[in-house]
Symmetry: C2
Subunit: 435 residues, 2 copies
């Protein structure tokens, strides 16, 4: 590359990082986009991969492919392990370092267990494709274990699914789980009735989807209950292990507990010498730069910012995209010799969450709220539209059209991490069944 041009390093190929890089396509700057995955992930639909409705390839595209036409971008597969803001240098796990003139840290967030990291093994979260495959395996194998179980207690434990956290992801998971149990697996088992599965959605707060107006939370809860989900709000889980969880002093046997509660920012935020909030997010300046380090920006889920209107910027995909584009605008100004510190203003296009088949809630700016089938179609259209790449959109639409008419979930294959029998041999009861 021409060393004459300044060098921007972007850490993270999520919505913030990718949109920033794209917005600088025509700028006189060299960009290196570093990510530890080879793909950009359309996270809003990750729960569909976890519940076998979509394949990994349907919601992920190789970063190289997305950016192949943009000659000023070099995609670098690697894991950032250090940031030296004084030396303007980023170091990677493989021992390489990258010197930068401008830096965008957009490495996002992962799930947190509120200091109970020992729960992670028993209650996997959902942030990456690997996570999605783990959840898919756990969910599908639980029904297999129930079919193979010899005692009612064991069977019931395998047929009890608890989702912890009633934010959008938790609501999506719980709603889809209920759908799978009641419709997708119908007639497929001989010794159990999957429809008897209990799906519980646990929320410490007073209501589901707390980022929505209370009226929509009530609608969402009602729609969840119609799908067969037990909505348990108002108290948090106290303990989770391989056999179940404890809540409000009550012990519940549940072999499958899924985690959709806490969020912890990427550890890279702590390397910037900037103030962090409790979740480890970087408290950025109004223009998204790091206090006292004007050539370093933070965007996406790793940044926390309260706007002039006292509203915090939500941790959603549209906000991440807008932040990425905002940073690109400021950098372009600096390339032109101007110092632009325009504060970031989140443009709210509305907030929506899906619950299940024909069930969703939509909260539009200006007070327009609606739910149910119309909200679901609205949600579907928006998400398919925003999926990267024409092909994906088409296939996703097809899969959903198919799933909608048949309830089938085409990606219901279990693989990875030792495979089903590995898990089975470990966890199935050691006894004999006479036929």
């Amino acid at each position: 590359m021409e060393r004459s041009r300044p060098h921007l390093v972007v850490i993270g190929g999520g919505f913030a990082g990718l949109w920033c890089a794209r917005a600088l396509a025509s700028a006189a700057i060299e960009i290196t986009l570093v990510d530890r995955a080879n793909h950009h992930l359309f996270q809003p639909l990750l729960y569909q991969v976890a519940t076998a409705g979509l394949s990994a390839g349907d919601i992920a595209a190789p970063l190289r492919h997305i950016l192949s036409g943009q000659r000023n971008v070099t995609v670098r597969l690697g894991e950032v392990v250090g940031i030296d803001a004084a030396a303007q240098r980023v170091s990677l796990a493989d021992g390489m370092t990258l010197a930068y003139d401008h830096l965008l840290v957009a490495s996002g967030a992962t799930h947190a267990y509120f200091g109970h990291d020992e729960w992670a093994a028993h209650a996997p979260g959902l942030k990456t494709l690997d996570d999605a495959m783990t959840l898919r395996r756990r969910i599908l194998l639980a029904f297999e274990q129930a079919e193979n179980a010899n005692d009612d207690a064991g069977r019931d434990a395998w047929l009890t699914f608890a989702v912890v956290g009633a934010g959008p992801t938790g609501v999506e998971l719980a709603g889809t789980l209920a759908e799978i149990a009641r419709h997708t697996l119908k007639n497929e088992f001989r010794r159990i009735d999957p429809a008897r599965a209990r799906v519980q959605l646990i929320e410490a707060g007073p209501r589901v989807l707390s980022s929505f107006p209370p009226a929509l939370s009530d609608k969402a809860a009602a729609q969840l209950q119609r799908l067969g989900v037990q909505v348990l709000t108002g108290s948090a889980v106290q303990h989770i292990d391989a056999d179940g969880y404890t809540r409000g002093g009550e012990r519940v046997r549940a072999k499958t507990v899924l985690w959709a509660a806490g969020v912890a920012a990427s550890p890279l935020g702590a390397m910037l010498g900037a103030p962090l909030d409790r979740a480890g997010r970087v408290q950025v300046q109004p223009d998204l730069s790091v206090p006292a380090v004007p050539n370093v920006f933070v965007a996406g889920d790793l940044a926390t910012l309260t706007q002039a209107n006292d509203k915090p910027v939500p941790g959603v995909a549209p906000a991440a995209k807008q932040m990425g584009v905002h940073v690109a605008t400021l950098i372009r100004a600096r390339l032109a010799g101007r110092s632009d510190n325009t504060p970031f203003v989140y443009r709210d296009w509305g907030n929506m969450a899906t619950i299940g088949r024909m069930a969703a809630v939509v909260d539009m700016p200006g007070g327009l709220k609606f739910s149910g089938a119309m909200a679901w179609w609205f949600w579907l259209a928006a998400h398919v539209f925003f999926l990267i790449g024409f092909r994906n959109r088409l296939v996703v639409l097809m899969n959903w059209g198919w799933a909608y008419t048949t309830y089938a979930r085409h990606a219901r294959v279990v693989f990875g991490s030792g495979g089903p029998t590995h898990d089975l041999a470990q966890s199935a009861p050691q006894q004999t069944q006479q036929r």
Copy 2:
């Protein structure tokens, strides 16, 4: 289930086992189909998953779903660890046992390393979805490693791909690898030219596709060379390690070696007290039953049989299906009180292998042979037609149509087994790169 009816246990949900179970849909018999995977795999297209052209869900369907409408079948996820032909009992890894009146062992084969099991870690084979994901990860990350390499030697080693074994799978892998390097990854890297990758196809025997007539082997070799594959026949690999292989005394640095050579039958064959061939396949009676054990049958890749016409039954999907149906016919006769020992006769509909984009060879009975584009379309039509499930066919067609027009491979996402950076951190050179 009604204990009055006889019980057939089918081990393996591949082509042989699944087709046998389906052929007994209307029979007065209870069937338990045991498989350690939850899905039936359309193995002929597994190489497409390994090379990121298709997603796992495109070529696999849950056994429960396929058989959900057949009420006399119970699908059992589990791994068979013992067969007691005298007691007519099968034992599973989870401690359960299944008593049977009739047994079909169709647990297939896996890859073998000719006594060099230490090669397995360096040269993965391709039999399961897990294998396919491992190959996909190795292939895609090799190009990433080459992009990150700092010395020419390392770069060349990462850009050298060796496929060992020139049977249909080896030919398919080598041809597709050449296609990926020359077309799919075009313009996506900044420091390497993927088209410079070396793809080698190594065969100990004198020609590729030895199960085809020599004329077609020559055509196949020519088409492979046109795609840019180095075809190296006439001598076997002597050694394989993490850095490459040795052949004919010559050491070749190749970071990616894929195994498509040896086949070893499932260990279950050895539990039947029947004679085995060198690959561990069961030498069955002409009617596919086990010598001296008339109520136990073996079908598919686990069985070896030379027909009356002195031709061995080939280890291909159509043969496995026909064997499964044949066993079903004999069992149905026995249910009717007749003892039917009709010998199995393989109905040869032709033999085909694909090489790459618009390149294939077809060998039809009656001496009709053709190759090239026409053979490829023939191959495509046949394989899409035989894929289980309308939806899969449609999506596979779409993906191929898309791939054909754009060379894109939509499933190019890397996940599983620690993920890319895990591999990267382990294998990338520890040095510093100044930008």
